[in-house]
């Protein structure tokens, strides 16, 4: 192996060939510190060292060098038998991959290796390229729930994808982690078909995190068609579902939700009370003033501050001439 190197680098690069693992460790660490880009080829070769420790340092060094030349070799490391190397390579590639590496990543996605596939699905999120879609969709059918979850999460990051029926279908997935990822992804699609599906998940899914994520997505859609389901969710047994349902209602203020929101001002959880105060301010109804006045004495400072702001908002709206 020959390298175009000067005297400073040469002994360390030669030491990478030493039969002694300790020598090779010293060599790879030194090359990392010298930061000389002419050592890149030698470091790439060290990725195939018999010692896992040397391999790992070589990955770290190549990460620090941040030269795109190392990307193909680092992608190969995603299939390493050693978890630390896989994770280090994934982190390095997270910094190094660009749109130029799309085809390389899509090729790697074809490897029948779960670790490689899940890491590549993650890396595709850094590129946001809709060309990935045909390569990502087959993973929705994967028998492995980790891959289904990774794939539907990646879909969220692909620009220009507005509709995706297979993603809606994943809301019925037997694995709750897949359903959670799917419900968040549906918030990013401008597909009106997603609304009823999210409403159903919000009110009937057995997993509270799915219900919460559905509420988050409905807040993004801000569709009045979801109000009825959101009203139900304001009474959900889990406080995070109640909180995010009220946040969604803030996006579509409807007067008839007022009694529900007034009731939420006495919720056990301060975050729910705070969001109820904000929502009542947005409704701009004088009938809510008395309840908000009481919320001024809430032991949680945030609740009282937002109640004060809601009162000011309502009073201001009452002073303004009606447009009716």
């Amino acid at each position: 192996m020959s390298f175009d190197v000067d005297d400073e680098l040469k002994p360390w690069i030669e030491m990478l060939q030493s039969p002694d693992e300790s020598d090779r460790l010293v060599a790879v660490k030194t090359l990392q510190h010298l930061y000389d880009e002419r050592a890149i080829d030698a470091l790439i070769a060290a990725l195939e060292d018999s010692s896992v420790a040397v391999q790992k340092l070589a990955v770290t060094a190549l990460w620090e060098f941040a030269n795109p030349k190392a990307v193909p070799a680092l992608i190969q490391c995603l299939g390493s038998l050693d978890e630390e190397i896989r994770e280090e390579a994934k982190s390095a590639l997270g910094e190094l991959v660009t749109g130029d590496h799309l085809l390389l990543l899509l090729d790697a996605l074809q490897q029948p290796e779960v670790n490689v596939q899940s890491h590549v699905l993650y890396l595709l999120r850094k590129i946001h390229d809709v060309q990935c879609l045909p390569y990502v969709l087959p993973f929705f059918e994967s028998p492995n729930p980790t891959l289904r979850e990774a794939a539907v999460t990646t879909l969220r990051y692909l620009n220009q994808v507005n509709q995706c029926a297979p993603a809606i279908a994943l809301m019925a997935d037997p694995d709750e982690k897949v359903r959670r990822a799917a419900s968040l992804t549906l918030g990013h699609l401008s597909d009106s078909e997603a609304i009823p599906c999210l409403c159903q998940a919000l009110t009937t899914d057995s997993d509270w995190q799915v219900r919460r994520d559905a509420a988050k997505s409905l807040a993004l859609h801000a569709d009045p068609a979801a109000v009825s389901a959101l009203e139900k969710a304001v009474k959900d047994e889990h406080w995070q579902v109640r909180k995010f349902a009220i946040q969604a209602l803030q996006k579509t203020p409807v007067v008839h939700t007022m009694p529900l929101l007034i009731q939420a001002l006495t919720d056990e959880y301060s975050d729910v009370r705070r969001d109820a105060a904000i929502a009542l301010g947005l409704l701009q109804q004088g009938e809510a003033l008395q309840a908000l006045q009481q919320a001024l004495d809430d032991p949680d400072r945030d609740v009282s501050i937002y109640a004060e702001r809601a009162i000011a908002k309502i009073q201001k709206s009452m002073q303004e001439p009606s447009n009716a």
Binding site: Q209, W239, P299, R301, I305
Partner: protein, 568 residues
């Protein structure tokens, strides 16, 4: 040992942390043919306040979310109106391009699914917090760029004084902390980037280096700028932060807040009225801690397992990797325990408050050819992005200035005197250990300067700090490393004296807890709406004076718009 090394460069950057690495890179970009040298007393791969990474940006002014004008308004109000808005504006204006450039170098900022910056609103006003869940590699990325730009780096050399002749900075002196060589560097421009004075007060834990700020930052630049004749500003505006009790790190409400965590009193309720991070907020925390509702904690146990795991992943991987082990050692778990918080020791740090070497919007100090950037330069609430911005400004302006002057031969008598001063502890290796001298000094800082401040206590403190010069002369060092620690104690003493004199001078309370005087409990805009600057006068004495606040460029009514402690 004691070999004389002479170096020469166009632009000398002292300190290779956040601001220093950026200053070096930008100076070189401004003139690739110019010579730039970064002097660092540790190793720039892992040095400075972001050595172990950073888990978020506190002051990201991203178009579409906020404007430089809004940012200037928030900082003006947060700093009770005492700001040079032109200087603050630079951070708001240039911060975005700095973030973009950092990103092009491989720094990862959190983005949403559409690839936009995922900004978080942490306080009730302003949306400036940009998480960096993969921020542990920030310093190595900066080091890589330093290398790529062919900026020279001299690690393990500590600067002790800036050389000033003919009314301008002409270089610096210091010594190699490994072999003890005396190092003289001639430079056309000098940029000080040595960070905060983090080792001013003693932490409640009692550990010398268990400080909130990076403990290697001992106020080197504050003292060097002072002895160079530069003005320092608002030193009485101390840095105080809410910290994890017994741990030298923030609870990280900035990180955990967007996930649903919040700062609560012992009853589990939020109690902070103040809308933005400021001394007013610290005063509220101080009052709550000392009320029947203390202690204060970062509450997370209401959150679910997945959310807590994600918070742990971010907090334990980036800024302070030892954090997980600390909690584990105490049998604490975020699922069942809040993170108990305490008020930190005092320090000087413009990044969090306002105390620093006075600079204008070009990063110039009042000494020609001397620039300052980062936590030690007085641009209030500048944080990490401000350090990058002012590193950039100083690097570019320093390089431009360097083209207009020639090297000056340092005065040999002055060099000999400084050499004798530096090496005195080595002449008495069995002298009092630096740890003991430092511990006592910083206990005095705690006893007499920790807010709330009182005239009588501070006068006793000042007397002690002045007399402490005699104690410093008793210090002994057995090797160059200990010598470095001895010189740091000198810097700390200088900063303590500045802190006492400035605090005594400003006869009002301002900036919440940062300058809360029991004898003058109210803010007095009529007499004290001004900067308090200090400098070493020609007779070698510390002189203090009022300096008017520069006219605003963004309108703010500081009488009406205040972040007040309206405790109901």
């Amino acid at each position: 040992m004691n070999t004389h090394q002479l170096m020469q460069t166009d632009v000398l950057v002292i300190g290779g942390g956040t601001a220093g690495t950026m200053a070096g890179i930008k100076a070189k970009q401004a003139n690739p043919d110019g010579d730039v040298l970064i002097l660092e007393k540790a190793n720039i791969r892992r040095s400075g306040a972001i050595a172990m990474g950073m888990d978020g940006v506190n002051t990201a002014v991203i178009p579409g979310h906020s404007t430089p004008e809004q940012y200037v308004r928030e900082v003006t109000i947060a700093n009770d109106g005492i700001v040079n808005q032109k200087a603050v504006y630079q951070t708001g204006k240039l911060g975005f391009s700095v973030i973009q450039e950092l990103e092009s170098w491989g720094v990862k900022f959190q983005k949403d699914a559409q690839g936009n910056y995922d900004l978080k609103q942490v306080h009730r006003v302003g949306k400036y917090v940009l998480p960096m869940p993969e921020g542990k590699d920030l310093k190595t990325i900066l080091t890589r760029q330093v290398k790529r730009h062919k900026v020279r780096v001299t690690n393990r050399v500590m600067a002790t004084r800036v050389i000033v002749q003919e009314g301008r900075a002409i270089g610096a002196v210091g010594f190699d902390v490994r072999n003890g060589d005396f190092v003289v560097i001639q430079a056309k421009a000098v940029i000080l980037c040595t960070g905060a004075c983090g080792r001013l007060g003693l932490p409640a834990s009692g550990y010398l280096y268990g400080t909130y700020e990076n403990p290697t930052n001992a106020g080197d630049g504050y003292a060097m700028a002072y002895h160079a004749g530069a003005e320092l500003s608002n030193i009485e505006c101390f840095q105080i932060n809410p910290l994890i009790k017994d741990y030298n790190g923030p609870a990280c409400a900035y990180v955990a807040g967007p996930f649903g965590a919040y700062t609560a009193n012992a009853e589990g309720h939020r109690f902070i009225s103040c809308d933005y991070w400021s001394g007013q907020m610290m005063l509220e925390i101080y009052k709550e801690l000392n009320s029947g509702k203390g202690p204060v904690h970062l509450k997370m146990n209401h959150l679910d397992e997945d959310t807590i795991s994600e918070i742990e992943r971010v907090l334990w991987a980036n800024e302070r990797p030892s954090r997980g082990r600390f909690h584990e050692g105490r049998g604490e778990n975020y699922r069942t325990h809040g993170v108990e918080m305490n008020i930190s020791e005092i320090g000087l740090c413009s990044g969090h408050s306002a105390s620093g070497v006075w600079v204008n919007e070009k990063g110039e100090t009042t000494v020609r050819g001397l620039y300052a950037a980062g936590d030690m330069a007085s641009v209030p609430h500048n944080y990490m992005i401000g350090a990058f911005v002012y590193g950039r400004i100083c690097g570019e302006n320093g390089m431009e200035y360097s083209a207009t002057v020639e090297h000056v031969e340092p005065n040999p008598e002055w060099l000999e005197a400084e050499k004798a001063r530096i090496y005195a502890p080595l002449d008495q290796p069995n002298g009092v250990p630096h740890t003991q001298v430092e511990y006592k000094l910083r206990r005095l800082v705690n006893d007499y300067l920790q807010p709330p401040k009182s005239q009588n206590r501070m006068e006793i403190g000042l007397n002690q700090f002045v007399r402490y010069q005699e104690t410093l002369n008793l210090m002994g060092a057995r090797d160059p490393h200990e010598l470095m620690r001895c010189m740091e104690v000198h810097f700390i003493r200088d900063c303590a004296e500045m802190a006492a004199r400035a605090s005594l001078y400003r006869k009002e309370s301002r900036w919440g807890l940062y300058h809360y005087r029991l004898d003058y409990p109210d803010k007095n805009n009529e007499e004290w709406f001004c900067n308090v600057n200090l400098k070493k006068d020609e007779s070698g004495h510390m002189t203090l004076f009022k300096c008017p606040v520069a006219p605003y460029i963004v309108e703010v009514d500081v009488n009406r718009e205040v972040y007040d402690v309206a405790v109901r």
